[in-house]
Amino acid sequence: MRAYLTLVRRELSSFFISWTGYIIIAGVVFLIGFSFASLLRGLNAEATPVPVTQLFYETLYFWLVLLIVAPLITMRSFAMEKATGTYETLMTTPVGDAQVVLAKFTGALVFYLILWLPLVACIWIVRLYSNDPSAFEPGSVATTYLGIFLLGCLYMSLGIFASALTRSQIISAMVTFAMGIALFMVSFLGKSVGAQTSWQSRVVGYFGLMEHMRDFAHGIIDSRPVVMSLSLTAFFLFLTWKSVESRRWR
């Protein structure tokens, strides 16, 4: 456990020691701010019954942040250690493979969650300056964050897995990006699959990230997306663990 915490701290601090972390934060703050600005413009033009949280995520910026930031955060985790050789010193300490994988994942996830903090400020500003207190409903903000958290788990585990496969950060980032986009595109597929009742559309429906996120922004917690993202996360972490372990059976 102590080794795990040490590793998590190291992962997190590595974001803040180098410029990468700050550049990512700056980029995300810019995107969130941009979506905030366009949102306010929209709200000024006409009133809307849709919750503010949903408006936030419905701008494409939200997905942009997720899709671009996930590869950037995770590409370093294993690939860089392999490239610099520190992987060897790490893996010859009495720390289990699973612990290393979990620590890398936790580090990436915590950093990802930090990235989303400015959103709270934006929502708070809306509430402060709008006369309508219902614009800021703690419940729906909480579920929005739950959705952000679950999507983060999924995308971080995916990125960590890609990073464990290679020693090149660029390849890792591209693989993560491609897989992330593919997963995201499934929700568009839903519209073209046809009848709502066919099994195809039900399968696609389980993976429809946009629909899931819409529910969360509405303040609805559906168990299906929760199970879906957590199980996929576990699956990718398991694959990562096995791929880290595979050096011992080759």
Partner: protein
């Protein structure tokens, strides 16, 4: 389990796809020894070290460290080993002390113990003055010492250093060597290198590796003695050349000789003796007997370097 051996390697073979890196190597290392693995690049030194450190498994064969099987008891083995891989990878964005603290914690040291150990290794490795500096900003010599300090911090029984002096300037090399020498006795040390004087200076025993096999295995002195048998004796004598000629020819122990004029009136005789014979006393006796002036009398010993070249070359010619 514990029979006094720190390392027991039996029939270790490691195959990479399409290539055999180590082919059926067996050796043992006793506690407190400093053993050098010597070999050209690609001879299999790093592979053996990686298997020993538990980073990757052997294809076949058993490897035990301090009585623990490297594959089945990997965690116990890792606790006994301080390993510095090739090229000494470090987290270059960390500060020296911070890095050692991080490593100590990974190796399971409690905070109070870690602080004490870190102070000790910082002192031992001469890092006290730079402990607050960022590793990436340090000179290569200091970085190497940070790697050593990391290998030492948890007081391992066995220290494995893969080419610890590579890329250092002569002064830094000397410092690192002294450090390693000081480790002998309390720790068992296995170092790999392709720099021969290093082994001569530091190691109790040498393993010469070539293409994944052990070619020679002995103390540096013994190796020199064995290989230097039949070495050349050089004598510079004042005497008529034809007299010398006749004299060496009549001596049964001299296999071959070569005379050349040295400066002054001296004649330089290069005598090759039969294996196992030291010609020097006889040459001295002869010179005394005939009243010749004798200026130099020496036997050229093969350096480990010559031995290495000879051992690895013969092998190459055979295949």
């Amino acid at each position: 389990m514990d029979n006094g051996w720190m390392i027991e390697v039996e029939n270790l073979t490691k195959r990479y796809p399409g290539r055999v890196a180590v082919a059926g190597v067996s050796f043992t290392v006793a506690r407190g020894e400093i053993v050098g693995l010597l070999g050209r690049n690609g001879a299999g030194k790093s592979t053996i070290m990686r298997v020993l450190s538990g980073f990757m498994p052997a294809t076949t064969g058993t490897v035990r460290v301090a009585g623990y099987d490297v594959f089945h008891q990997a965690d116990e083995v890792r606790r006994c080993i301080g390993y510095m891989p090739e090229n000494n990878p470090l987290l270059r964005d960390m500060r020296v002390r911070e890095y050692l603290k991080f490593r100590a914690s990974l190796k399971g040291l409690r905070r109070a113990v870690a602080r004490e150990r870190i102070d000790l290794v910082l002192q031992q490795c001469g890092l006290m003055d730079v402990q607050k500096r960022i590793i990436g900003h340090l000179s290569k010599g200091y970085q190497q010492r940070v790697g050593l300090a990391d290998a030492l911090v948890h007081q391992p029984q066995l220290i494995i250093l893969d080419e610890p002096t590579i890329g250092l300037d002569p002064n830094q090399i000397r410092a690192v060597r002294q450090l390693i020498k000081d480790l002998g006795g309390q720790h068992t040390v296995l170092i790999s290198t392709h720099i021969l004087p290093e082994v001569e200076m530091m190691c109790n025993r040498v393993l010469i590796l070539h293409e994944g096999e052990i070619l020679a295995h002995d103390t540096p002195d013994n190796l020199q003695q064995i290989m230097s048998q039949g070495g050349q004796v050089i004598a510079e004598i004042v005497a008529p050349q034809d007299e010398l000629h006749a004299c060496w020819e009549s001596m049964a122990e001299v296999e071959q000789f070569d005379l050349s004029a040295a400066e002054g009136e001296y004649v330089r005789c290069a005598l090759t003796a039969r294996p196992g014979v030291d010609l020097r006393p006889q040459v001295y006796a002869l010179a005394c007997e005939r009243g010749w002036k004798l200026r130099e009398l020496s036997r050229s010993r093969y350096s480990l370097e010559d031995i290495f070249v000879r051992v690895t070359r013969t092998d190459g010619e055979e295949t």
